[in-house]
Amino acid sequence: MNVNILIPSVLRRHTGGQGHLTVTAANLPELVDRLGEAYPDLKHHLRDEAGQLRRFINFYVNDEDIRFLGNHSYTFQEGDEVLIVPSISGGTR
C-alpha cells in the first residue's frame, strides 16, 4: 500500500529537508524499514540498538494513535496518512 508520511521538522535533517514522503508498506515495522532504507541516517533514530522502535516516537494513522488500531499488526490502507510525532506526547512500544 502507498502510505503518505508527514515528517516533523526535527527529523527533516535526516530526510534531506523532505516534509512529505510516500512509501509502500503493509504495516508499521515495514514502514520503518522502508524509511531506514531510503534514509539510512534516519534508521537509528527510529530504532534503538536492539532494533526496537524507540519509546519516544508516536505514530498516528489518519489522526488516530496507531496503538488503538492494533499497532504493529495494523494493515495500512491505500492512501493512509501517517504522522510521526516525537516524545512530547509520550512513548510507544
Binding site: 488503538f68 516525537p86 509520550g90
Partner: protein, 419 residues
C-alpha cells in the same frame, strides 16, 4: 556548562545548551534541564532562602531562569497544613495537605510551571505564547501572558468545564476549541509549534516549564522544617509533577539542605483515565494509551508525556499507584471540604480517594508523615457537583417560619440518627 543549567537528553545524555527545544535531535528522547549544583552549593543556604519573600522565587537558584530575571508575580508558597480530621476519616494519624487550590494568580499548581516557562519565553524572544490544556494550564498561561504583555493562544478540548473556558477568555487570550480529546489537542500543538514561532509552554518550552513543578517539593520540605515527608500522594495527568517533586527532594538532599530520606511516591488517577496506574498495577514500565472517560478532566490525558518516568519514580521509590471511580472522586471532594474546609477540584477528589485506598491496602502506614498534593480549586469544576445538593424552598423572613424550618431540619436529623 556555560550557564548553571542547560538542556540534556534524558536517555543519551547529550547537552543542547539553552533553546526552545524539547526533543533530542539524536535519539528523539525528551530533554530535561540539568543543573550544576556545585555552582550554587556555597551560597544557597537555608538562611538565604528564608530571608527572601514567601514566593516560589525564593528558590530561584534551582530554577532555569535567565540571569537577572525580575519576576512580576508572587506565585507559589501555598499553605502546607495538617489534616487531622481528614486523617481520621482515611485512617492516617499524620496527614498533611499541600494546598495549591489557592496558588496565585489562577488557583492551581500550573501557576508555578507557567511562571518559569514564560520567563524563558521572554528570553527566547517569543511575542506569542500558548499551550494545550485541560483547563488549569490555560488559565495560568492566559493570566500570566496578560501580565507580561504577551499574546496568548490556548488550545483546549471543546468539552472543557465552562468555568475553565471563561477563566481563560477573561484575560483576553485567543481560545482555540478543538473537537477532540486532550491527546489530540496536544498533538495538534506539537504541529503548530513546528510551523509557527510561538512559545508553547508545554511543547517547545516544556523542559523549562516542568522545572517549575519542583517548587511544590521545595516548599513541602521547607514548610516541614527542612525535612522530607515519608510519603507523597500526587495526582497524575501527564505524569510530570510526581517526577519533579522527586527531583526537588533529591536536589535539596544533594545540597545538604535536608537530610536524606527514602520518600515513597504514590500516583493517583481516575479509573476512567488511568494509563499510569494501570501500568504500575500490572508491573509494566511503559503505558498503553487510553481514551479518557472521566469527570476528572484535568487528569484526562490518555497518552501521558511523562508516563514512563512517573512509573519509574513510583517503582524506584517503593511507592504505588491507584485509581478511583467518578463517584469516589465526588466523595473525595466532599470529604475534603467537610473535614478540612478545602474545596478542591476533581483532581483533588482523586487524590483524597486514592489516599484512602492506599491506606486501606496498607501501602501507606497510618503513622507515617503523608502529604496529599491538592493541585486545583473546586470553584473551577462545580459541574462535577451539579445536582448533588438539594436547596430548600425559600421561607418568609419571619421567626416563626424559621422555627418551623429548623424543626424540620432537626427532625430529619433525629430521624436519620434513630434509623
Amino acid at each position: 556548562m556555560s550557564e548553571r543549567y542547560e538542556l540534556k537528553c534524558r536517555e543519551c545524555g547529550k547537552s543542547w545548551g539553552n533553546c526552545p527545544k524539547v526533543v533530542c535531535e539524536d535519539c528523539f528522547s525528551p530533554l530535561e534541564i540539568a543543573f550544576d549544583l556545585d555552582t550554587i552549593r556555597k551560597d544557597f543556604t537555608r538562611e538565604r532562602i528564608t530571608s527572601r519573600p514567601p514566593t516560589l522565587w525564593r528558590y530561584a537558584e534551582l530554577l532555569p531562569l535567565p540571569d537577572g530575571y525580575q519576576p512580576s508575580l508572587p506565585s507559589g508558597f501555598t499553605p502546607l497544613v495538617p489534616a487531622p480530621h481528614l486523617g481520621k476519616e482515611l485512617g492516617s494519624a499524620n496527614l498533611w495537605l499541600k494546598n495549591d487550590a489557592v496558588c496565585f494568580p489562577t488557583l492551581s499548581f500550573k501557576d508555578r510551571v507557567v511562571a518559569v516557562a514564560l520567563a524563558q519565553a521572554k528570553r527566547f524572544g517569543f511575542n506569542a505564547v500558548g499551550c494545550s490544556s485541560t483547563g488549569n494550564l490555560a488559565n495560568a498561561v492566559a493570566a500570566q501572558a496578560a501580565r507580561l504583555g504577551l499574546e496568548a493562544w490556548i488550545f483546549i478540548p471543546a468539552d472543557l468545564e465552562a468555568a475553565k473556558v471563561l477563566n481563560t477568555q477573561v484575560y483576553g487570550a485567543h481560545v482555540v476549541p478543538i473537537a477532540g480529546n486532550y491527546d489530540q489537542v496536544n498533538r495538534l500543538c506539537a504541529m503548530v509549534a513546528d510551523q509557527h514561532q510561538w512559545g508553547f509552554v508545554n511543547v517547545n518550552l516544556r523542559p523549562y516549564y516542568a522545572e517549575g513543578s519542583k517548587t511544590f517539593g521545595f516548599e513541602i520540605a521547607e514548610q516541614l522544617g527542612w525535612k522530607l515527608p515519608d510519603n507523597v500522594v500526587v495526582p497524575m495527568a501527564g505524569g510530570s509533577l510526581i517526577t519533579k517533586i522527586r527531583k526537588a527532594f533529591r536536589e535539596l538532599t544533594e545540597l545538604g539542605l535536608v537530610e536524606h530520606k527514602d520518600v515513597k511516591f504514590f500516583g493517583a488517577q481516575a479509573s476512567g483515565c488511568s494509563p499510569i496506574s494501570t501500568a504500575v498495577k500490572a508491573g509494566n514500565v511503559d503505558i498503553d494509551p487510553q481514551k479518557p472517560a472521566t469527570i476528572a478532566r484535568s487528569l484526562a490525558i490518555g497518552n501521558p508525556a511523562d508516563g514512563h518516568y512517573a512509573i519509574e519514580a513510583i517503582f524506584q521509590s517503593g511507592g504505588w499507584a491507584e485509581d478511583v471511580t467518578d463517584n469516589e472522586v465526588v466523595a473525595g471532594i466532599k470529604l475534603l471540604a467537610e473535614t478540612e474546609g478545602v474545596f478542591t477540584e476533581t483532581a483533588g477528589g482523586v487524590t483524597v480517594s486514592v489516599a484512602r485506598k492506599l491506606l486501606q491496602q496498607g501501602y501507606i502506614h497510618p503513622d507515617e508523615l503523608t502529604v496529599l498534593a491538592i493541585t486545583g480549586n473546586g470553584l473551577k469544576t462545580t459541574d462535577a457537583l451539579a445536582g448533588i445538593y438539594d436547596v430548600a424552598e425559600p421561607i418568609a423572613p419571619r421567626l416563626a417560619e424559621f422555627e418551623n424550618f429548623l424543626g424540620k431540619i432537626l427532625g430529619s436529623a433525629v430521624e436519620e440518627v434513630s434509623r
